[in-house]
Symmetry: C2
Subunit: 221 residues, 2 copies
DNA sequence: ACAAAAGTGTTGAGAGTACACCCATGC
DNA sequence: GCATGGGTGTACTCTCAACACTTTTGT
């Protein structure tokens, strides 16, 4: 049986690019220039090339849209309903990426393309089944923050505990108790002290970094 | 831009079918009759038809192999490395299914096809990247048992706490303390008493069923 | 009476949660 | 001296883990 005995569906990779801007969780959307859904906002993506892996496709799309590399990248889910794209059978493998807000300053909305950051509580109506996809991505994002160390990928190498707490508060959209938060994080034994940051106009905070070899560890916050 | 401007990869759905047989966790494998990997064991699967969703394809494959419907079915991951199939570019969307051992008695190895159950500690060498896929599936399976109620889908409607505990012990390959296990399960408040099973030659156990509307609840065992 | 599985409680340790004040610096 | 975030401890509750014997039935 040859591989091409069946009509082939098209395969795209869509990527949910999250970052933190203005103390809010943001996702990158693009404005569609062609039909269907012309003028609507959509999750960026494109066809998988025949000679690149799915992850490579995601990395490429990400770079095309933002000019930077992801600080965290993970496959999310594959959506393949028959009628999700009115043009024909399109299966989309979705990824989600986290980008450190530091990098973002290098290139935020360069490129004349119609890409824009949206705070996740101000999402416009989206093309295709992209609302469903985004909802799913947010769920997974929060889950990941709760049980793993992905949150650290949104921070610079050296950071303060307050910065870390801020990230968690933004992602979960609620406040945490400062003492409990610090106790919890420090008790994990994953941080290394990196000296004191003097460049502040208040009591100077301790800087921390993630110890080597603690990525991928499962945490329970 | 037309959908077919790019060369299309092929898309298959592979399905990891798990059940419990002889007090062991088993997975269904098929013997390949064609090259490549002719004669090797592989995870069952096939091409996605142009007019069926991914999940429908998984359900169809499952029925073709076992003759029954899944008691639990979930998308696992999509594997798309460029060279994972020597014949060409093949992207596979994997699913995992749980089948209640009761049904299995109805049709276990009918069909002259070369499908066979393998205890997960006696897996032969597999075709393609299927070892990686199986390993990933087992990880996910255990995770699901730990945090959700999927384990119940391997039991009949009415079951005893000992049966439930047995399932967990098989999946995790370790013993649990009977008192703690029962305390934990009962404290979840998800079980309904269904009377006593008299057909045993020892002290008759209480039968339980899952309360309505408690599927999909996240549990922490 | 014996085999076989069902059923049952307590204790100690660790984790999570709630809660309010002083500290170090720049200006 | 005041504004700004940084930093700290205790007490209560709840969950988890360890641990052994009695009960009910069929044969």
């Amino acid at each position: 049986m040859a591989l091409t005995d069946y009509p082939q569906p098209s395969v795209t990779v869509d990527i949910l690019i999250f970052t933190i801007r203005n103390n809010q969780l943001n996702v990158l959307l693009i404005k569609r220039k062609i039909s269907p859904f012309k003028g609507a906002w959509a999750i960026p993506g494109g066809f998988v090339r025949i000679d690149e892996s799915l992850e490579d496709a995601a990395i490429r799309e990400l770079k095309e849209e933002t000019g930077v590399e992801a600080d965290y990248l993970e496959q999310l889910y594959t959506f393949g309903d028959v009628k999700r794209d009115p043009r024909g059978r399109v299966i989309t493998v979705t990824y989600f990426a986290l980008i450190n807000s530091e990098k973002l300053k290098l290139k935020s909305s360069t490129d004349a393309s119609e890409a824009k950051w949206f705070p996740i509580d101000k999402i416009p109506k989206l093309a295709f089944d992209h609302e469903k996809i985004l909802k799913y991505a947010l769920q997974r994002l929060r889950w990941k923050f709760e049980y793993t160390l992905v949150g650290f990928s949104l921070l610079p190498k050296k950071f303060t505990l307050s910065q870390l707490q801020k990230i968690y508060e933004i992602v979960f959209n609620k406040k945490f108790d400062k003492r409990n938060f610090r106790k919890k994080i420090l008790s994990l034994g994953i941080l290394k002290e990196e000296g004191i940051d003097k460049n502040v106009s208040h009591r100077p905070p301790m800087l921390y970094s993630l110890k080597k070899n603690v990525k991928n560890i499962v945490e329970i916050l």
